[in-house]
Amino acid sequence: MEGLPILSLMMCVPLAGAIACLFAGANAARWIALGATLVTFVLGILLWANYDIGGPQWQFTERANLFAGFEYKLGIDGIALMLIMLSVFLMPVCILASWDSIHKRVGEYMAAFLFMEVLMIGTFAAQDLFLFYVFFEAGLIPMYLIIGVWGGDNRIYASYKFFLYTLLGSVLMLIAMFWMVAEAGTSDIPTLMQYGFPPQAQTWLWLAFFASFAVKVPMWPLHTWLPDAHVQAPTAGSVILAGVLLKLGGYGFIRFSLPMFPEASAQFAWLVFILSMIAVVYTSLVALVQADMKKLIAYSSVAHMAIVTVGLFAFNVQGLEGAMIIMLSHGLVSGALFLCVGVIYDRLHTREIARYGGLAINMPYYALFFLLFTMASIGLPGTSGFVGEFLSLAGVYQASSLVALIATTGIILGAAYMLYLYRRVAFGAQVNADAAKMGDITLREWAMMAPIAAAVLWMGVYPESFLAPMRADIAVLDARLAAAAPASDAQLAPGTPRAAAANALSHHENAAEEGAH
């Protein structure tokens, strides 16, 4: 792999595909898009296979002096690797999900998705602060088009809201970036991650970055764009939005806010905790009363991402690892749930929960997959959701037992709204004749669902595969955060050990005494 600029190659393939799709006919565009995303996925597997666990922190580095003001500089660590893998894994699935459901302007649609893939890989691989911003922000354009052109009835409102909300969040981050680069004299991310900004400045910088990432994650009360965007976007748009774009916020926290501003992160941990606790309880309750399936899953995303943020700001290894695993798991599971909605939406063209019922009878395989992903969303042991949520909550328990207590109610409420959803859709009587006539999943839908199901189980049973590449990076981050970590409320005072075990039987002593007589 020496010398092969694999990260650039992974961006060039979808870019070439995007340009080809713009000029291709509908059917050709579908195949080009599928081919390009599959090639990128194969390159991603190569990337993972060649990633040297325990090797240097930044691998596959590339640099070229192409621009004035910032550099074209790529490179990944384990965290970025995992998120890139998530992106390239979900992309072919998205293309398959759009295969039949998109009829108009297919070429442009596929081009927008492929362009999105370029930007996602670029965002995770960028090693220059401004290059990161370019990729991060550029995602607005294809997403705006995807929601606006191929979205539902209220798509215009949703696309405007999505665009302006995220833009306003990001521009303040840009100002902070300028200040950081002026202060540190470099826009190199690995250097900045080690740079000690003055704590007073960190406060402002942290808030500016928070404005951007909190909108992206999204955190309550900045989440209101998400249900609109999700509901109006086409199925694949929702998948990519929930699967990868929300992770940009979490990635931002773990790559920028925490290592660059550790003191400010500690100072504001309470803010993140409070917002996350509200998010967990409030959005879960909101999810419980939704009549629209997509909206329900959208609100559940907010709740799950709140468990990510509490884990991130727990300032310990479990919390960080848990947050990363939830991000990966949620990327797969919420993506898969949106696919499940998409499958039945394609058949009946409604997202209203009440219009379905008893699908387990006529669509048994569909019901099986839906059940698996529902359970993974709840966090059943054996699925990916359990690993992440357990680690994250275990991490935050060390920081604050109150936060852990309230965040854990999210699991219970999650079980409530997900099982309630599942019961209404898959179980019960077949009250709607048209829903009862729907056929089971096709081969194409199998091809979408089965790989995600396999990945969810793999991550649930053997998370080590996913944790191993990130372990060293999280340890480095933890070491950097250690000095700033706020005092935890778990006052673990070592007690004085007893002389004898608590359950030691006393008659031996008595016997000994008796023997002394």
Binding site: L66, F67, G69, S159, Y160
Partner: protein
């Protein structure tokens, strides 16, 4: 006095003057039949003048060797950069003109008048003098030569009432601005005893008197009028809407460059020793232009009018670079100008390509509904321009905002920069409305006419510059702008 070096320095202007006079005679005797060849000859003359700039542009000319005619003109790297941009913009404006004037949109008298290219040439001579002025006399001379040509250009469709109205408004308000500027210049002359930039600068050292301060403010107000910065922007939407579209394309690019460059020259070369006196004024004007330009555009239905507000908005960002008062800020401003010219020229070219079956040019939102279905190439190009104007990466418009804001923050104006960038989000609202109308709405299907190769060439070229490919230009552009800005500050 040996005039040979001076004449050598103004060779591009001499070429343009000679070409203008000859073509004027050709136009007078040949009539409007020859309008097209005259336009081509004028574009060739501008190109030739541009080529003459290249050596000095490359080395970043500076020092006493750049002074011409006893210090009346200063042909330094800064002037050369601005001139190059002006000539390029003017060539673009000439390229798109004939087709428009031949269409029904040009009113009852069809066909381009042969004076049109000649007037553009004279306007360019005026602008050349403006950007290389080193004395208030030569400044005023250049400004008026440019303005008088521009008034006629705005009203060139004599039987079209909108065009006539635009010309008259432009003339009355432009004359008012010139008066304000002259009054300011006279005050400065009275309080410093000179008209040359050096003399006025020397007279403005130390504690500044009220009279001189008024002079500074009046001069700045007059210049703000010319660059259409808030609060002196009111003429812009009316003139842009009323003037024939190729003329609007011209107004939005070349004279903007000239006026901004002139403002920068005056501010740094003349008032450079008194930064405190004008910095707050420029900061206010910049912020006000960004905000009012953005808010004013939101309700507009006419695309030309909308682009007029957009130009006010952009002037605000350019003035940010000026407010910073550092070589970095000036370089950022020049980079912004270059990218702004490419974006504006591209947007207006795209507008001129929105033609009906009979060739008439459309100019409202209702006409471009669903353009992405009927005319995908134009729609995608406009999408690039609009996202670029909104400053969304990876388009080059982001880079222009990038350099300006970087200069602002590095100069320590953090709060100011934060407010300005937050205000830029308001602007994004109407730029994405363009995209919404073209891509999300059902097709109106009225844009069916074809456009010539010249339009396509210009559209493709500007779109390529604005696209991410444009970032490959940034090292060269930054280098040129740095040299140009350095020569501006060397004077001080």
């Amino acid at each position: 006095m040996d005039f040979a070096p001076s004449f050598a320095l103004v060779a591009p202007e001499l070429l343009l003057i000679a070409a203008g006079l000859v073509l004027l005679l050709v136009a007078a005797w040949g009539g409007d039949r020859l309008a097209r060849p005259v336009a081509i000859a004028a574009a060739a003359a501008l190109f030739g003048a541009g080529v003459l700039l290249v050596p000095g542009l490359h080395t970043g000319a500076e020092g006493p060797a750049t002074l011409a005619f006893g210090g009346l003109l200063k042909v330094d790297g800064f002037a050369l950069f601005a001139k190059a941009l002006i000539y390029l913009a003017a060539i673009g404006a000439l390229m798109v003109a004939p087709a428009f004037f031949a269409s029904p949109s040009a009113g009852p008298e069809r066909g381009m008048r042969a004076e049109y290219p000649v007037l553009v040439l004279f306007a360019c001579v005026g602008m050349s003098i403006m950007v290389s002025a080193n004395d208030f006399m030569s400044l005023y001379l250049g400004l008026e030569l440019n303005s008088l040509s521009a008034y006629v250009l705005a009203a060139i469709l004599r039987r079209d009432t909108r065009s006539g109205e635009a010309g008259l408004k432009y003339f009355v308000l432009g004359a008012l601005a010139s008066g304000i500027l002259l009054y300011g210049m006279s005050l400065l002359y009275g309080f410093t005893g000179g008209t040359s930039f050096l003399a006025v600068r020397a007279g403005l050292t130390g504690e500044m008197g009220t009279g001189a301060l008024f002079g500074v403010i009046f001069v700045l107000a007059g210049l703000a009028f010319k660059i259409s910065a808030v609060p002196f922007h009111m003429w812009t939407p009316d003139v842009y809407e009323g003037a024939p579209t190729p003329v609007t394309a011209f107004f939005a690019t070349a004279p903007k460059v000239a006026a901004v460059a002139l403002t920068a020259r005056v501010v740094f070369a003349v008032f450079g020793g008194q930064i405190d006196a004008w910095q707050q004024i420029v900061m206010f004007t910049a912020l006000a232009s960004i905000i009012f330009g953005a808010l004013g555009a939101i309700g507009q239905d006419n695309l030309k009018r909308l682009l007029a507000y957009s130009s006010i908005n952009n002037i605000g960002f350019i003035l940010l670079g000026l407010a910073v008062a550092s070589p970095q800020g000036a370089a950022a401003m020049l980079i912004y100008l270059f990218i702004y010219v490419a974006m504006s020229l591209g947007s207006f070219t795209a507008l001129l390509m929105l033609r009906g079956e009979d060739g008439a040019v459309f100019e409202t939102f209702a006409d471009i509904r669903g353009l992405s279905v009927t005319r995908p190439a134009i729609a995608w190009a406009l999408l690039l321009f609009m996202f670029s104007l909104a400053g969304i990466p990876p388009l080059l418009g982001f880079y222009s905002k990038f350099v300006v804001f970087q200069a602002t923050i590095e100069a320590g104006l953090v709060a100011f920069g934060a407010i300005a960038i937050a205000a830029s989000v308001i602007g994004a609202f109407y730029y994405i409305k363009f995209v919404k109308v073209m891509f999300f709405d059902e097709p109106a299907g009225v844009v069916t006419g074809r456009s010539g190769a010249g339009h396509w060439a210009l559209l493709v070229l500007t779109a390529a510059i604005v696209s991410p490919l444009g970032y490959l230009l940034t090292p060269a552009l930054a280098d040129l702008a740095d040299k140009a800005a350095a020569s501006l500050f060397l004077a001080a």
